[in-house]
Every structure is written in C-alpha cells, then in structure tokens.
C-alpha cells in the first residue's frame, strides 16, 4: 500500500517536471484526483451569462469554446468531451449558484468562465474550495487578478485583459496621440463600465488631462439625448463610454444629433468591439474609436476562427470575447494533456492540483488572441491593447477592422 502511494507520488513529481508516462496507476494529489472511467466522458463546464439582457456576452464565449471543442473533434485521448453549461445570469447570486452546482459535480475536470466579473465574485470561493480551476474569457475587473487577491482566488485565471491596462491605454491614446485635454465619460451602471471609466478618468487626470463630466445612464435606457445634452453642456473634446453593444449603439447613433457634440471624438471599448455594435450604431459610428485587444498580431488564426464561427452560429460574432473563450478552452485542454495519466484500460486520472499548477505554468501558448503566458496572479491575457478606428469599410459590413491606429 505504502509502496503504491510512493509510486504515485513519484509519478506526480515526474509530471511536475513535464514527463509524460502512460499506463501508470492512479496518481495522488493534495486536492484530489478525478477518475474518468474507460467509457466515461471528460467533463468540462462552461459558466457564464446565458439569459437576460447580457446573454450575448456569454453565448458568444460559449460558442468560442464550442469551436475549440470541435477543433479537438470533441475528444480528449479518445474520450468524448462533455461541455456542460451553467447559467450565471451576470449576477453575484447567479454566479454563486452556478459555482455551487459545478463544485458539487465531481466529474468536472476544469471550467471556462465566468462571463461577468460579478459572477466570479459570487462563485470563485466555491470553485477554489472544490479544488477546481476556472479560466475566464471575459472578466476584466482589475481586482480579480490583483496580487493581493487572497486564497479564495487560487482557482481563478483569465485570458481577458484587466481593465487596468485598457483604461490606461485609452487615456494614453487620447492624451498623447490625439492630443486632447478635456474628456467626458458615460457608464451604464454596470460594474464593468463604471470601473473602466474610473480607471480611464484617473489615468487621464494623472497624465494632465481634465475630466469635465462623468455621467451615468440606466442599463436599459434607449433615449440618450438627455445624457448627451448634459455632456454637451460640459463641452468635452472626447467622449469615452466603455459600455455594451445596445446602449453603446444608442449613444453613438444619437450623439451627432445633439448640438455641441457634432465633432466630439467618440471612444468606446471592448464591450462594443463587435460588428453587431457597428450595425446598431449605424453610419454615425464612422470615425469613432474602439479600444480592444490587439487583433492584428494574430489576424491569421482569427480569420479561420471567424469562418468556423459563421458556420456554427450563422452570424458574425455577437460580442467581443469568443476568441478569448477559444483560447481559454485550449489552455485548459493543453494543461489537461500535460497532467492526465492514462491507465491501460483507458481510464484517465486527472490530479487537480497538478492541473491547476499546469495552467498557471502556461507559457508562450500560441492562442488566437496572442502569445499567452499566465502570471502567478492569474493573468493569462496578452495585455496588448490597440485602438481601432471605425471606417466606412466597417460600416459597410466588413469585420474586423484592418489595422489599429494606435499603437
């Protein structure tokens, strides 16, 4: 008995050094080992917002993960992969419930999600306590991967960039590149937009710019004239509104009709970096700027991905984080491949701690959002933020924009 344990230990330590052994007995692991029987599926879970007003964010990421799954023919070492979904509803309570459900399911090997940072806040403790690890494709709240985030976040990584990068990049773009010294911001009462515009405002002020007004609209507001009128009253050179497709479309479409905003520079962020947004905003989107992950670095892989997306979903991507979900799934898959121990009868053992460590150890991973390496605090995303300008080409229906205007 003792001998076997020792042997297993040896296997784990061997694995930690990257060796791969086949046909060995079950390893042991401080967080436990998942056993996948010869006829069992490998169970990967996706959690995120799949209902309510933000459903497109989660659906888009889910489809990205599905494409990654299809790229592996739906199989891991000959076992079918089950990709289950749990709705986090973009709320803290939804995230908590979804996480509790997944934490209780001992067949799950790894997770992709959540969509909204609020879901992660509600659910991450249950996931980490269960020894699971999740990779979020679209959480951007800086606090989630801050170095002092605490042990509850041990099982949390993300391929999305932190908004600390994005807000800073936009501030630099506006102040240094455009040379504008007054700016206004609008957020929609979502935690994402509120935090991002605040990062921008702080960085912009630090650079020497002036924030003339910070406004707020309801998440479901359609008539933006009142808020735009207020903004126009403060007379900013730049209007930054890092919100989502629907409200962003309303603001872009209506801004040019408000006296005083005819020539104001409009800037949005990754929440609006979709063809859906350009369609929703219409001709008035031409000339505006959108910050987003720098797609030009990995254009080639992305084009092929977009074709698969079109075939699967029947439309262009409906939100911004499909590619991040694709990468998140693949990072998880690669880590699984590294740590999985296969017995002769086809049984697979997944040591949980080793898996988590393997994900954290991801280095120079060739993703479609960039060359990804995961930091000790869980940031796997390439923090390369670019600013794109929407031109007549995109308004005419082409996507994505060809090259960023900055950097």
């Amino acid at each position: 008995m003792k001998l076997r344990k020792l042997g297993a230990l040896a296997v784990v330590s061997a694995l930690a050094f990257g060796a791969c052994t086949q046909g060995t007995p079950a390893p042991s692991d401080e967080l436990g080992v998942i056993t996948i029987g010869p006829n069992d599926n490998v169970h990967i879970a996706f959690w995120g917002v799949l209902s309510g007003a933000d459903a497109s964010l989660g659906q888009d990421s889910l489809d990205g993960a599905k494409i990654a799954l299809a790229d592996h023919d739906g199989k891991f070492r000959g076992h079918d992969i089950t990709l289950s979904t749990d709705d986090g509803q973009c709320t803290v309570e939804g995230g908590a419930a979804a996480a509790a459900k997944m934490a209780a399911d001992s067949t799950i090997v790894g997770l992709v999600g959540s969509s909204c940072s609020d879901e992660a806040v509600g659910g991450i403790k249950a996931i980490s306590d269960a020894g699971l690890t999740t990779i979020s494709p679209s959480n951007t709240r800086p606090a989630l991967t801050s170095p002092d985030r605490g042990p509850d976040y041990a099982g949390y990584l993300r391929t999305a960039h932190s908004d600390a990068f994005q807000g800073k990049a936009v501030a630099e773009f506006v102040y240094n590149e455009l040379g504008k010294t007054t700016a206004a911001t609008i957020h929609d009462g979502s935690a994402y937009a509120e935090a991002l515009q605040q990062v921008f405002a702080d960085e912009y002020t630090a650079l020497g710019g002036t924030i003339v007004i910070q406004e707020q609209v309801g998440k479901d507001t359609t008539d933006m004239t009142p808020v735009l009128t207020r903004v126009a009253g403060a007379n900013p050179e730049v209007l930054y509104y890092p919100i989502f497709v629907a409200a962003g479309g309303f603001i872009t479409d209506q801004a040019r009709d408000v006296p005083g905003l005819e020539n104001t520079v409009l800037i949005g962020s990754d929440g609006m970096f979709t063809p859906d947004f350009v369609e929703a905003a219409g001709p008035n989107a031409e000339g505006m700027y959108l910050s987003s992950p720098n797609f030009s670095a990995f254009q080639a892989g992305y084009t092929g991905f977009l074709e698969k997306y079109q075939a699967l979903v029947g439309s262009a991507p409906i939100s911004a984080f499909h590619a991040h979900a694709y990468d998140a799934f693949n990072i998880l898959y690669a880590a699984l491949d590294k740590v999985a121990v296969e017995a002769d009868d086809g049984t697979i053992y997944i040591p949980k701690k080793a898996l988590r460590d393997a994900i954290y150890a991801t280095k120079d991973f060739q993703g479609i959002t960039g060359i990804l390496s995961c930091s000790a605090s869980g940031d796997c995303g390439a923090p390369l933020i670019a600013v794109y300008q929407i031109t007549a080409r995109e308004v005419g229906g082409q996507w994505p924009p060809e090259a960023p205007v900055w950097p």
Binding site: S51, G52, A53, A55, S56, Q59, G189, Q214, E215, Q216, V217, G218, D220, T221, T222, D223, T225, P226, V227, T229, R230, A232, G233, V245, A246, G249, F250, D253, D257, V258, P259, D276, E279, A280, A281, G282, P283, V313, S315, I318, S319
Partner: protein, 358 residues
C-alpha cells in the same frame, strides 16, 4: 365605535407626514427647477431638444399604453406580456424592412420610404395581433372568471414565454433596423432642430390614437367594447357578444403596440428579445399615470412620462449638482408617478374607458 386618543394622535402624525411628503417633493421640484434655470447653463436650444425627444418617446409610450389601458378597462387585468407583443411587432417590422431594403425599395425615394414604413407597420401590427390573440386564447381566456391575481401571474408566465421564445428564435444579439435616409434629414425650419423621423413618429402616433378614439367612440364595435367594459352582464343581456368585444380589444391594442414597435426600431435603430420589457414597464406606468382604463388618459400619461424622463432629471436635479443624474431618469419618472397618485389616486384623468366620468 369610539375612537381612542392614541388612534387620533397616530392619525394626526400620519396626516402630518403625508403633507410633509407632498410639500417636500413639490419643493424639491420647484427649487430644483428654479436653481437649474437661474444658473443659465442651458440655452433654449437644449430645452427644445429635450422636449422633442420627450415627445417622440412619449408618443411610443402612449401607443403601447393604449393596449394596457384598453385590456385593463375591459377585463380589469394587467396584461404584463403586452411589452413583449410590442417587441415581437418590432421584430416582424424588422424583417419586413430588411426585405424591402434588399429589394431596393426602402430608400428608392421619399414616397417609397413612406410606403415602406407603412408596410412595415402593417406587417408588425398584423403579426403582433396574431401573437396577442394566441396568448389571449391560451393564457387568459380560461382565466376570465378567476380572481384578478390569477391572470396577472399567467401574464408574467406569458411574458417569460414570449421573451425566451424570441431569444431562442433570433438569438440574444441585437438586430439593427435598416437606415431610412430620408428620415435622418432635418426639417428645414430655423427656430428648432427637428428630424423628419421625429415628425413621422409623432404624426403616426397621433393618427393612430385619433383612429382608435374614433373607433371606440363612434363605431358599433367600439360601443360594444365600451358597454362590455362598463358592465359585462348587462352588455350580454343587450345582445352584445362579450367574447368578441374582448378579442377585438386585444387585437386593436396589440396592433398598435406592434406598429409602435416599428416606430421604436426606427427611432433607436436596434431591437433584441429583451427590448420590450422596459418600454412595456414604462407604458404600463404611463397608463396608470393617466388613469388606467382611460384611453385619453393613456395618451396623456405617455406624453407626460416621456417629458418627465427627458426633461425632468435635468430640470429638477441639475440645480442641486447631483452627479450622474441622467441615470436617475427612471427614478424621477417613478417619483412623479407616486406623487401624482398621492394627489390623484386614480391617475390624471380617472378610470373610465370611454373617458367620460360616470
């Protein structure tokens, strides 16, 4: 029965509180408006701009509110799914518009655009009508004699069902209405900046409301509807087909909501499966504001709510230096609602479908 002293004291305290509440809200409104206006930060152009957007959104609210109010008038039932009927109309109109745009007819010239919009509205109205009648048949008719909370819960169910059916059908993304170039141009008048779209929305809404008013007040079917809403039993005894009157009410309300869905789409460009919820809630509020069950009341309520939301936050709160006040528009709207109900517990015009007080 003798009234105890303690009761009297409590009553007095309550009455005092009520007056303090009313006075303080009115005071906030008056002082805030005064401060805002006297600061002179916003010129006349700003205010006219806000009034116009209030007018157009208010018109859409009013059109949707009519459906709520008519159904309430005849069945005393809050048709919570009405906002979703509006959304479904918007989708039908979108597909019609898409087809017309593909044919090149939508933007061929001004007349073609106008005809196209009418076609879109008719398609939307008809589609919304069919869906509304199905909902009525399946979810409401079996409950016609049930206590009034029962149909309300059924209506919640219908609302969920419609929203998530559309989500399954069309996905969660937004659908952008095709551009109608003509509507984006400004009306060539000097003193106010207004687009043809605004004119179209207001006129279309007025025409539909006038038509409805004529229909309810002057036609035989309209008379039947009014009779049924007054007293079902007596109406039936007079030989009125109660069932038909009710179905007609649903149909007319839904058709107007569907057409309003197209106007909404033209104004704001985009719709998705959830975009009926907010306007539905607002329209319901508008109907209550005007006096639920009262047709002119719904129109007035819609226009009033549109103005309160567009102009209100700016006018009442800017003077106090409130941050992020555009986000409070809905809160201001609901506060005005409560205020009006406190002063007039049956809404601005009281509740009678015919508009005449009994």
């Amino acid at each position: 029965m003798q009234v105890r002293l303690a009761d009297r004291v409590t009553d007095l305290a309550i009455a005092t509180f009520l007056w303090a509440f009313r006075i303080s809200v009115v005071l906030i409104v008056v002082v805030g408006s005064f401060l805002t206006l006297s600061s002179g930060k916003y010129g006349l152009e700003t205010w006219t701009g806000l009034v116009i957007t209030g007018l157009t959104t208010g018109s859409v609210y009013a059109l949707v509110a009519l459906g709520y109010t008519m159904v309430y008038g005849i069945l005393r039932m809050i048709n919570f799914a009405h906002g979703d009927i509006f959304m479904i109309g918007g989708f039908a109109g979108y597909f019609a518009g898409l087809a017309l745009s593909r044919l090149g007819f939508l933007n061929a010239n001004a007349i073609a655009s106008l005809i196209s919009i009418m076609i879109m509205m008719v398609v939307a109205g008809v589609f919304a009508l069919v869906v509304a009648l199905l909902v009525e048949r399946i979810a409401y008719r079996p409950l016609r004699n049930a206590p009034r909370l029962i149909p309300l819960i059924s209506a919640f169910g219908a609302s969920y069902f419609l929203e998530y059916s559309v989500k399954g059908w069309a996905g969660p993304g937004v659908y952008a209405f095709p551009d109608v170039a003509v509507l984006d141009q400004l009306v060539p008048i000097d003193f106010v900046r207004i687009k043809w779209l605004d004119v179209l929305v207001v006129i279309a809404a007025l025409v539909m409301m006038a038509g409805l008013y004529f229909f309810v007040m002057r036609t035989k079917v309209g008379t039947a509807i009014r009779a049924v809403s007054e007293d079902k039993a007596t109406a039936a005894l007079m030989g009125i087909d109660v069932d038909r009157a009710i179905v007609t009410t649903f149909a007319v309300g839904a058709a107007m909501a569907g057409a309003a869905g197209v106007l909404f789409g033209l104004m704001f460009r985009q719709i998705n499966y959830f975009s009926g919820f907010e306007p539905g809630l607002k329209a319901f509020t508008a109907a209550v504001l005007g006096g639920i069950g009262n047709i002119p009341g719904a129109m007035l309520g819609g226009l009033f709510l549109g103005q309160v939301e567009a102009v209100g936050p700016q006018l009442f709160l800017d003077g106090f230096g409130v941050p992020g006040l555009a986000g409070l528009a809905k809160a201001v709207g609901f506060t005005m609602l409560v205020l009006i109900l406190v002063f007039r517990p049956s809404g601005l015009l009281g509740e009678r479908i015919s508009g005449t007080r009994a």
